[in-house]
């Protein structure tokens, strides 16, 4: 077992836990956007940063979703440094997604009061990479990937043409936290929505507990079993 201190509380976790897992298991809220318990952590949204103090080092921010629990670590999940970093990061996400309700709600929760910089085009995709990782890690198909880099980065299919590998399962659409995923741009299949706007938001909500839709797993299993071919 590993012993560490989170927010002044002594915490004991089995070896191999990330800081985020340790926090959530102990009811400590951490906002996330690119994290999903079923997928390998990605460390891209940087909303889950916490302040880590270790002997002999200056306190620093680490992404809790990927940082392992280490013996004797002292972690603060809500310090001023953490709050400031999350607020600025949320403001930066809003710079590209200023009309997306889920992102606006997130910004409000993290204390963003104004968006000082906006990209020329609104885009609901926040490049959390959940769709890409689901397609590769859960579905095992890898029909989509990120292409290009920096500010031009986006999720797409190889050569930006409709994928022949896509099985039309729709998991990418389901897992997208902002409703940005355009199913029709990927595949010739038709997406049958299981009316799932309530799937969204669950992943980054500040409540600590994961807020997954009760039928989430069944739905994915059903979709995987019967990919519906579009007309």
């Amino acid at each position: 077992m590993i012993h560490l201190t989170i927010d002044d509380r002594p915490i004991e976790v089995p070896e191999g836990r990330s800081l985020l897992e340790a926090c959530r298991e102990n009811g400590i809220a951490i906002p996330t956007l690119c994290y999903h318990p079923a997928l390998e952590p990605y460390g891209a949204c940087r909303l889950c940063v916490v302040e880590l103090s270790q002997a002999g080092r200056k306190p620093r921010l680490v992404a809790s979703c990927v940082y392992p629990c280490e013996e004797g670590a002292v972690v603060s999940t809500n310090s001023e440094m953490v709050q400031r970093s999350r607020r600025i990061t949320a403001e930066l996400i809003l710079a590209g997604s200023y009309d997306t309700p889920e992102v606006l709600a997130l910004g409000k929760e993290l204390g963003v009061t104004e968006i000082r910089f906006k990209l020329p085009e609104e885009n609901a995709c926040v490049l959390c990479g959940l769709c890409v990782r689901t397609c590769s890690e859960i579905v095992g198909v890898s029909a989509i990937s990120v292409i290009q880099r920096g500010i031009s980065k986006k999720v797409s299919t190889p050569f930006q043409v409709k994928s022949s590998r896509c099985i039309g399962c729709g998991t990418c659409v389901l897992i997208c936290p902002t409703g940005a995923f355009k199913f029709e741009s990927v595949t010739g299949f038709q997406y049958v929505s299981p009316s799932q706007s309530s799937y969204r938001l669950g992943y980054y909500r500040l409540g600590g507990e994961l807020d997954l839709h009760p039928t989430y797993e069944q739905d994915i299993t059903a979709l995987l079993a019967n990919p519906k071919e579009g007309e």
């Binding site: 891209a44 921010l61 440094m81 970093s85 600025i88 930066l92 990209l119 920096g150 031009s152």
Partner: protein
């Protein structure tokens, strides 16, 4: 080629080669580095070959034309050195070749117009070793660059090459090699400056545990203006190979990779050629020098993403995945290429290894300062007389580097700042020129050693524009995986662009500082974590320039186009029509012999007129 199945065979070969590769044998060395090739050195050495035959030089003395690697003095290319005398000619053209052969080679006379004249003293200097640019350097890694034919493994062997590998395989244990590297104090030359010995030790421990591992030479050099790694690989590829083979033996690794940019075709070619030659001699392969040790190197080409110089992104790229960094831990020494322990070192670090083994850790540790040992290669570019590659001991001052070796600032201008460490580094103002350059002192001042890029800014450089340039670079090169780097650098760049365009607002400086703090502290990899450094250091040392741009809408260095206007002083204008005819935006009007005028609305502030005016009649306000 013989297969060297034992160390004794390598020794024999070296003895046999010694005669044909005497360091003082007469030859014309022409720099074949990429820089001099751009200046046309290929045609120069062809002309030499032809001319030596035409003038029947052979009848009097045996004289070769040798195409070497980069000599480093790129400002003056194509460079020609006539050995053994060491006569140094700069900016040699094909037309000069017949005269050089008849006058200097056969006649023993100097050709005055080709002799180098020192920009500071005006003194004429005939011999390479007396040129201040070379004289004040301490060349350990680059020492053979202007001397060897990089396509000849024999020449490298004749100069003692692969002797360190032989020593390691016959006399040292892996632990002893690591202890030696640790004791030398060598720190990673790629930027972070981590102890190479400790890194090797970590990797060795993990390789022992898992039974497999890799080493990688990081040759994805990408800082603007930095090209020392390229020059080492072009000019002396065998030293890199030898260093890697020694490291592989120390860490118990049997496969190495060189991750090199595809934009370095000559370095790739030379490295490929060198690896093939080393294999043919059994210096790479299944049973190196009959020792039973197996090691080979494969080349992986990068496709021009700066971020792939970051070690985890580099690993992803070698594995064929998207070149994105991943969070550490685990560090590559634990889980790197294909999940196996992997040690990644920069080209300069690998090239230092044979030297340390050859001369000993104590000798190497005697060079440099308390916490920074050995030599560092800088590429000096920007507003400097002697653009080029220089190798100096750690602890040298910037002033010595810039004035004694770099030849000072052109046109008698004053130096304003030096940007160290490329886009991840910071700029130091002129008042810090006397600080000794080592890892600790640079970090304290907000800059970093980085990979050795050194960009000089003079009094005509606008520091806001300077910071904007570097921010533009990192913003373009951000991989886009994490939010602070992807969008944060764009937000910073946009703010800087606004300030330069004259649309700066009160609060912009605070906004930049706020963004910089978050990007530095929360980005995923070192690219983002260091991207704000140029802005932070210019704000620290040149805040007044930012304030002038924002509050007074004035660019003190008269660079930012949104904040300057060009006008003609009627009293000085002779009405020669030169500016009028050459104006790129037809903004100048006037008649012959009458003062002209510039329409500020049409003027694009390109600066052509000011460069062409012979009467200093055009001013920038």
């Amino acid at each position: 080629m013989v297969t060297l199945t034992s160390p004794a065979l390598l020794d024999n070969l070296r003895v046999k080669l010694a005669d044909s590769y005497k360091p003082d044998r007469p030859c014309v060395t022409v720099c074949g580095g990429t820089g001099c090739r751009v200046y046309g050195s290929e045609k120069v050495w062809e002309a030499f070959r032809k001319e030596l035959a035409t003038q029947k030089v052979d009848a009097k003395l045996s004289m070769d034309v040798k195409v070497t690697g980069c000599h480093g003095f790129c400002e003056k290319g194509p460079l020609v050195v006539i050995r053994p005398q060491g006569v140094f000619y700069a900016r040699v053209k094909i037309e000069d070749v017949p005269e050089i052969v008849s006058e200097t080679i056969l006649g023993g006379k100097l050709i005055d117009r080709l002799v180098y004249s020192d920009p500071q003293s005006g003194e004429k200097i005939a011999h390479e070793e007396d040129v201040p640019f070379y004289k004040n350097q301490y060349r350990l890694i680059l020492n053979l660059n202007g001397d060897l034919d990089p396509l000849q493994i024999d020449e490298y062997i004749a100069r003692g090459g692969y002797g360190s590998l032989e020593k390691v395989l016959t006399q040292m244990s892996p632990d002893a090699v690591i202890a030696e590297i640790k004791a030398s104090g060598l720190r990673g030359r790629g930027g972070a400056g981590f102890s190479t010995g400790i890194k090797w030790e970590l990797c060795q421990k993990n390789v022992k545990k898992t039974g497999k591992g890799y080493i990688v030479c990081n040759a994805d050099e990408g800082d603007p203006g930095a090209y020392m790694d390229r020059s080492i690989m072009e000019g002396n590829p065998h030293r890199v190979i030898e260093g890697m083979a020694i490291g592989a033996f120390a860490m118990g690794v049997h496969q190495g990779y060189v991750y090199i940019r595809n934009e370095y075709p000559l370095a790739v070619k030379h490295l490929r050629y060198a690896i093939d030659q080393a294999r043919a001699y059994n210096l790479l392969g299944k049973d190196i020098l009959g020792s039973g040790y197996e090691f080979d190197i494969a080349i992986k080409l990068g496709s021009g993403a700066f971020v792939c110089g970051e070690e985890t992104a580099l690993i992803a790229s070698i594995e064929g995945r998207v070149g994105e960094p991943r969070p550490r831990p685990p560090y590559p020494a634990e889980s790197g290429l294909w999940g196996k322990p992997t040690n990644i070192n920069n080209v300069k670090s690998w090239a230092s290894v044979p030297i340390i083994i050859d001369k000993g850790a104590a000798w190497y540790a005697g060079i440099g300062t308390e916490n920074s040992k050995g030599t560092m290669i800088f590429s000096i570019v920007g507003k400097i007389n002697n653009t080029g590659l220089v190798e100096v001991p750690m602890g040298i001052t910037l002033r010595k580097l810039i004035y004694d070796i770099g030849g000072g600032i052109p046109n008698g201008k004053k130096i304003k700042a030096a940007q160290l460490g490329g886009p991840s580094g910071g700029c130091l103002p002129a008042e810090h020129l006397d600080v000794p350059i080592d890892y600790a002192s640079l970090t304290e001042l907000g800059a970093i050693m980085g990979s050795g890029g050194l960009v000089i800014a003079d009094e005509d450089t606008c520091m806001v524009d300077f910071a904007r340039y570097f921010m533009h670079f990192t913003q373009e090169e951000s991989c886009g995986k994490c939010v602070p780097c992807r969008i944060g650098t764009k937000a910073m760049l946009s703010t800087l662009e606004r300030i330069c365009a004259g649309d700066g607002q009160p609060g912009d400086i605070d906004y930049l500082l706020e963004l910089a703090e978050t990007i530095k502290s929360s980005s995923l990899c070192a690219l983002g974590q260091t991207a704000p450094n140029p802005v932070l250091t210019t704000l620290r040392y040149f805040r007044d320039e930012y304030e002038a741009h924002i509050n007074e809408k004035r660019c003190p260095a008269r660079v930012c186009k949104g904040l300057i206007t060009y006008s003609i002083i009627p009293e000085k204008c002779e009405g020669c029509m030169v500016c009028l005819r050459n104006c790129t935006s037809s903004a100048i009007s006037g008649e012959k012999q009458k003062p002209h005028a510039i329409d500020p609305k049409m003027c694009s502030r390109c600066g052509v007129c000011i460069n062409l005016c012979k009467f200093d009649a055009i001013t920038v306000n």
